[in-house]
């Protein structure tokens, strides 16, 4: 019994392949002010990237006929950005065959999940870094996201977290 308990505990872990943190190739990221409800390859380099212009108020582009204004955002010092993917397992590849023809259902289900479920669903699996980044572009609809954008507030979090969780001096 003892050993099977230990095994159960192991199954509740997602292992991060450390070597991929060094081998990850630079990735280009854009945070868009709209939700595209799919996860799939897209010809970003054919339609989006070539249309980006440097305007008087920062970067300009359009998406689906709407005008976007953007700005570069740096990853806070002391942090590195990574794009991570779960490593494929045999059974997952098998499952994908069933999804044919019911794509929409499957995707909607995925969107209803809380974000942490993405990690939990695949417990006892391996996750790897596929790309790294030190900055990304944040886009706003018609106006620049500006300093009040919530993403900026989120990016101050690591420095506050460091203070909250730093060891306190003893007596």
């Amino acid at each position: 019994m003892e050993s099977s308990d230990e095994e159960n505990v192991e199954k509740r872990r997602v292992h991060l392949r450390l070597d991929t943190l060094r081998s990850a190739t630079p990735a280009t990221l854009h945070l868009l002010p709209c939700d595209i409800p799919v996860n799939r390859p897209a010809p970003v380099g054919s339609f989006f990237t070539p249309a980006i212009r440097q305007g008087p108020e920062g970067l300009e582009v359009s998406f689906r006929g709407r005008s976007l204004r953007g700005e570069e955002v740096e990853v806070p010092p002391g942090l590195v950005g990574y794009v991570m993917r779960m490593e494929e397992k045999e059974e997952v590849v098998g499952k994908q065959d069933f999804s044919q023809g019911s794509d929409n259902d499957e995707q909607e289900q995925e969107l209803l999940e809380p974000p942490e479920a993405a990690l939990e669903r695949d417990f006892d699996r391996v996750i790897r870094a596929s790309g790294s980044f030190s900055h990304f572009t944040v886009w706003g609809l018609e106006t620049r996201p500006g300093p009040d954008a919530k993403v900026h507030a989120a990016l101050t979090w690591p420095s506050l977290a460091a203070a909250i969780h730093a060891q306190v001096p003893g007596d």
């Binding site: 868009l32 590195v80 044919q100 977290a161």
Partner: protein
């Protein structure tokens, strides 16, 4: 099926956008494995939360997720819905240990550590026992006895409040260095409000810092901490957030403003609302 791989960039598998501490990249030179995501208790709510655990260097990181409505990523030649941004930041394991010590305190006796940190729901809590210098950490929140060279511990509220007071103080210092506007109430709409009400009264900083620290301790202890810090009763000074804070709000922001935020925790102000609502329901 064939259409999916036409662009050559992987499949439609989910991609997660993470911000990780740089030290993990450096650590990857020395070790090949030992970094993993585990589910452990959230010391404030008692529910589950995700953490990143470094087995080799014995470090604990908490995972926070930034989520705002109507966002998605372009990642190289692919689209990723949701626009989530995952943060891994160092976590003081003492907050988690404290959760177990407060629970064990109902028995009111000195106990060895491995009898305190026990959890059927989150069996990975045994990882906490592997952390270095645990004995030194525990001095901040427990009384200890040594019998036959084995250590026994008991929760001490007095010591804990003193420790939390120091936590609040060092958070106040960080708020000042980072120029965080503490004039407004700590709520998600604090970041929508205009900076003109900026006030650098010390009490505001302490209130704000207390709000941040309170997300790591149970509610009962939080009330004691308020008294310890001599803060005004929180409910008395809490103005109801106006439904329309800013005329420049987008449709998405208006939708967010309608959400009932009364029970929200302060750290939510750094992240989206949706994720935390969902967690609350689990």
């Amino acid at each position: 099926m064939a259409g999916r791989v036409e662009y050559g960039e992987g499949t439609d598998a989910q991609q997660l956008v993470f911000l990780l501490p740089e030290c993990l990249k450096d650590a990857s030179k020395m070790m090949k494995t030992g970094l993993m995501f585990v589910k452990l208790v959230n010391p404030c709510s008692g529910e589950g939360a995700l953490y990143l655990f470094n087995m080799c260097l014995q470090q604990l990181f908490e995972i926070k997720i930034f989520k705002e409505k109507h966002h998605s990523w372009f990642i190289n030649q692919s689209v990723q819905s949701g626009g989530l941004l995952y943060f891994a930041t160092p976590m003081d394991p003492l907050f988690l240990l404290l959760h177990y010590f407060i629970k064990a305190d109902k028995e009111g006796k000195f106990q060895p550590l491995d009898q305190v940190v026990v959890d059927d729901m989150f069996p990975n809590c045994i990882l906490l026992l592997k952390l270095p210098e645990l004995e030194k950490l525990l001095q901040h929140v427990t009384e200890e006895k040594e019998i036959d060279k084995k250590k026994y511990y008991k929760y001490s509220k007095e010591k804990t409040l003193k420790w939390l007071g120091k936590k609040v103080n060092q958070t106040v210092a960080a708020l000042k260095t980072n120029n965080v506007n503490v004039g407004a109430r700590v709520q998600s709409n604090a970041f929508f409000s205009s900076p003109q009400i900026s006030s650098d009264k010390e009490e505001n900083y302490i209130c704000y810092a207390h709000g941040l620290v309170s997300d790591y301790i149970p509610k009962e202890l939080n009330d004691d901490l308020s008294k310890y810090l001599k803060l005004p009763e929180p409910s008395a000074s809490l103005p109801k957030p106006p439904s329309k804070k800013n005329s420049k709000m987008t449709t998405a922001q208006k939708a967010l403003a309608k959400v009932d935020k009364t029970g929200m925790k302060s750290i939510d102000s750094f992240f989206g609302t949706k994720f935390f609502e969902k967690v609350g329901k689990i």
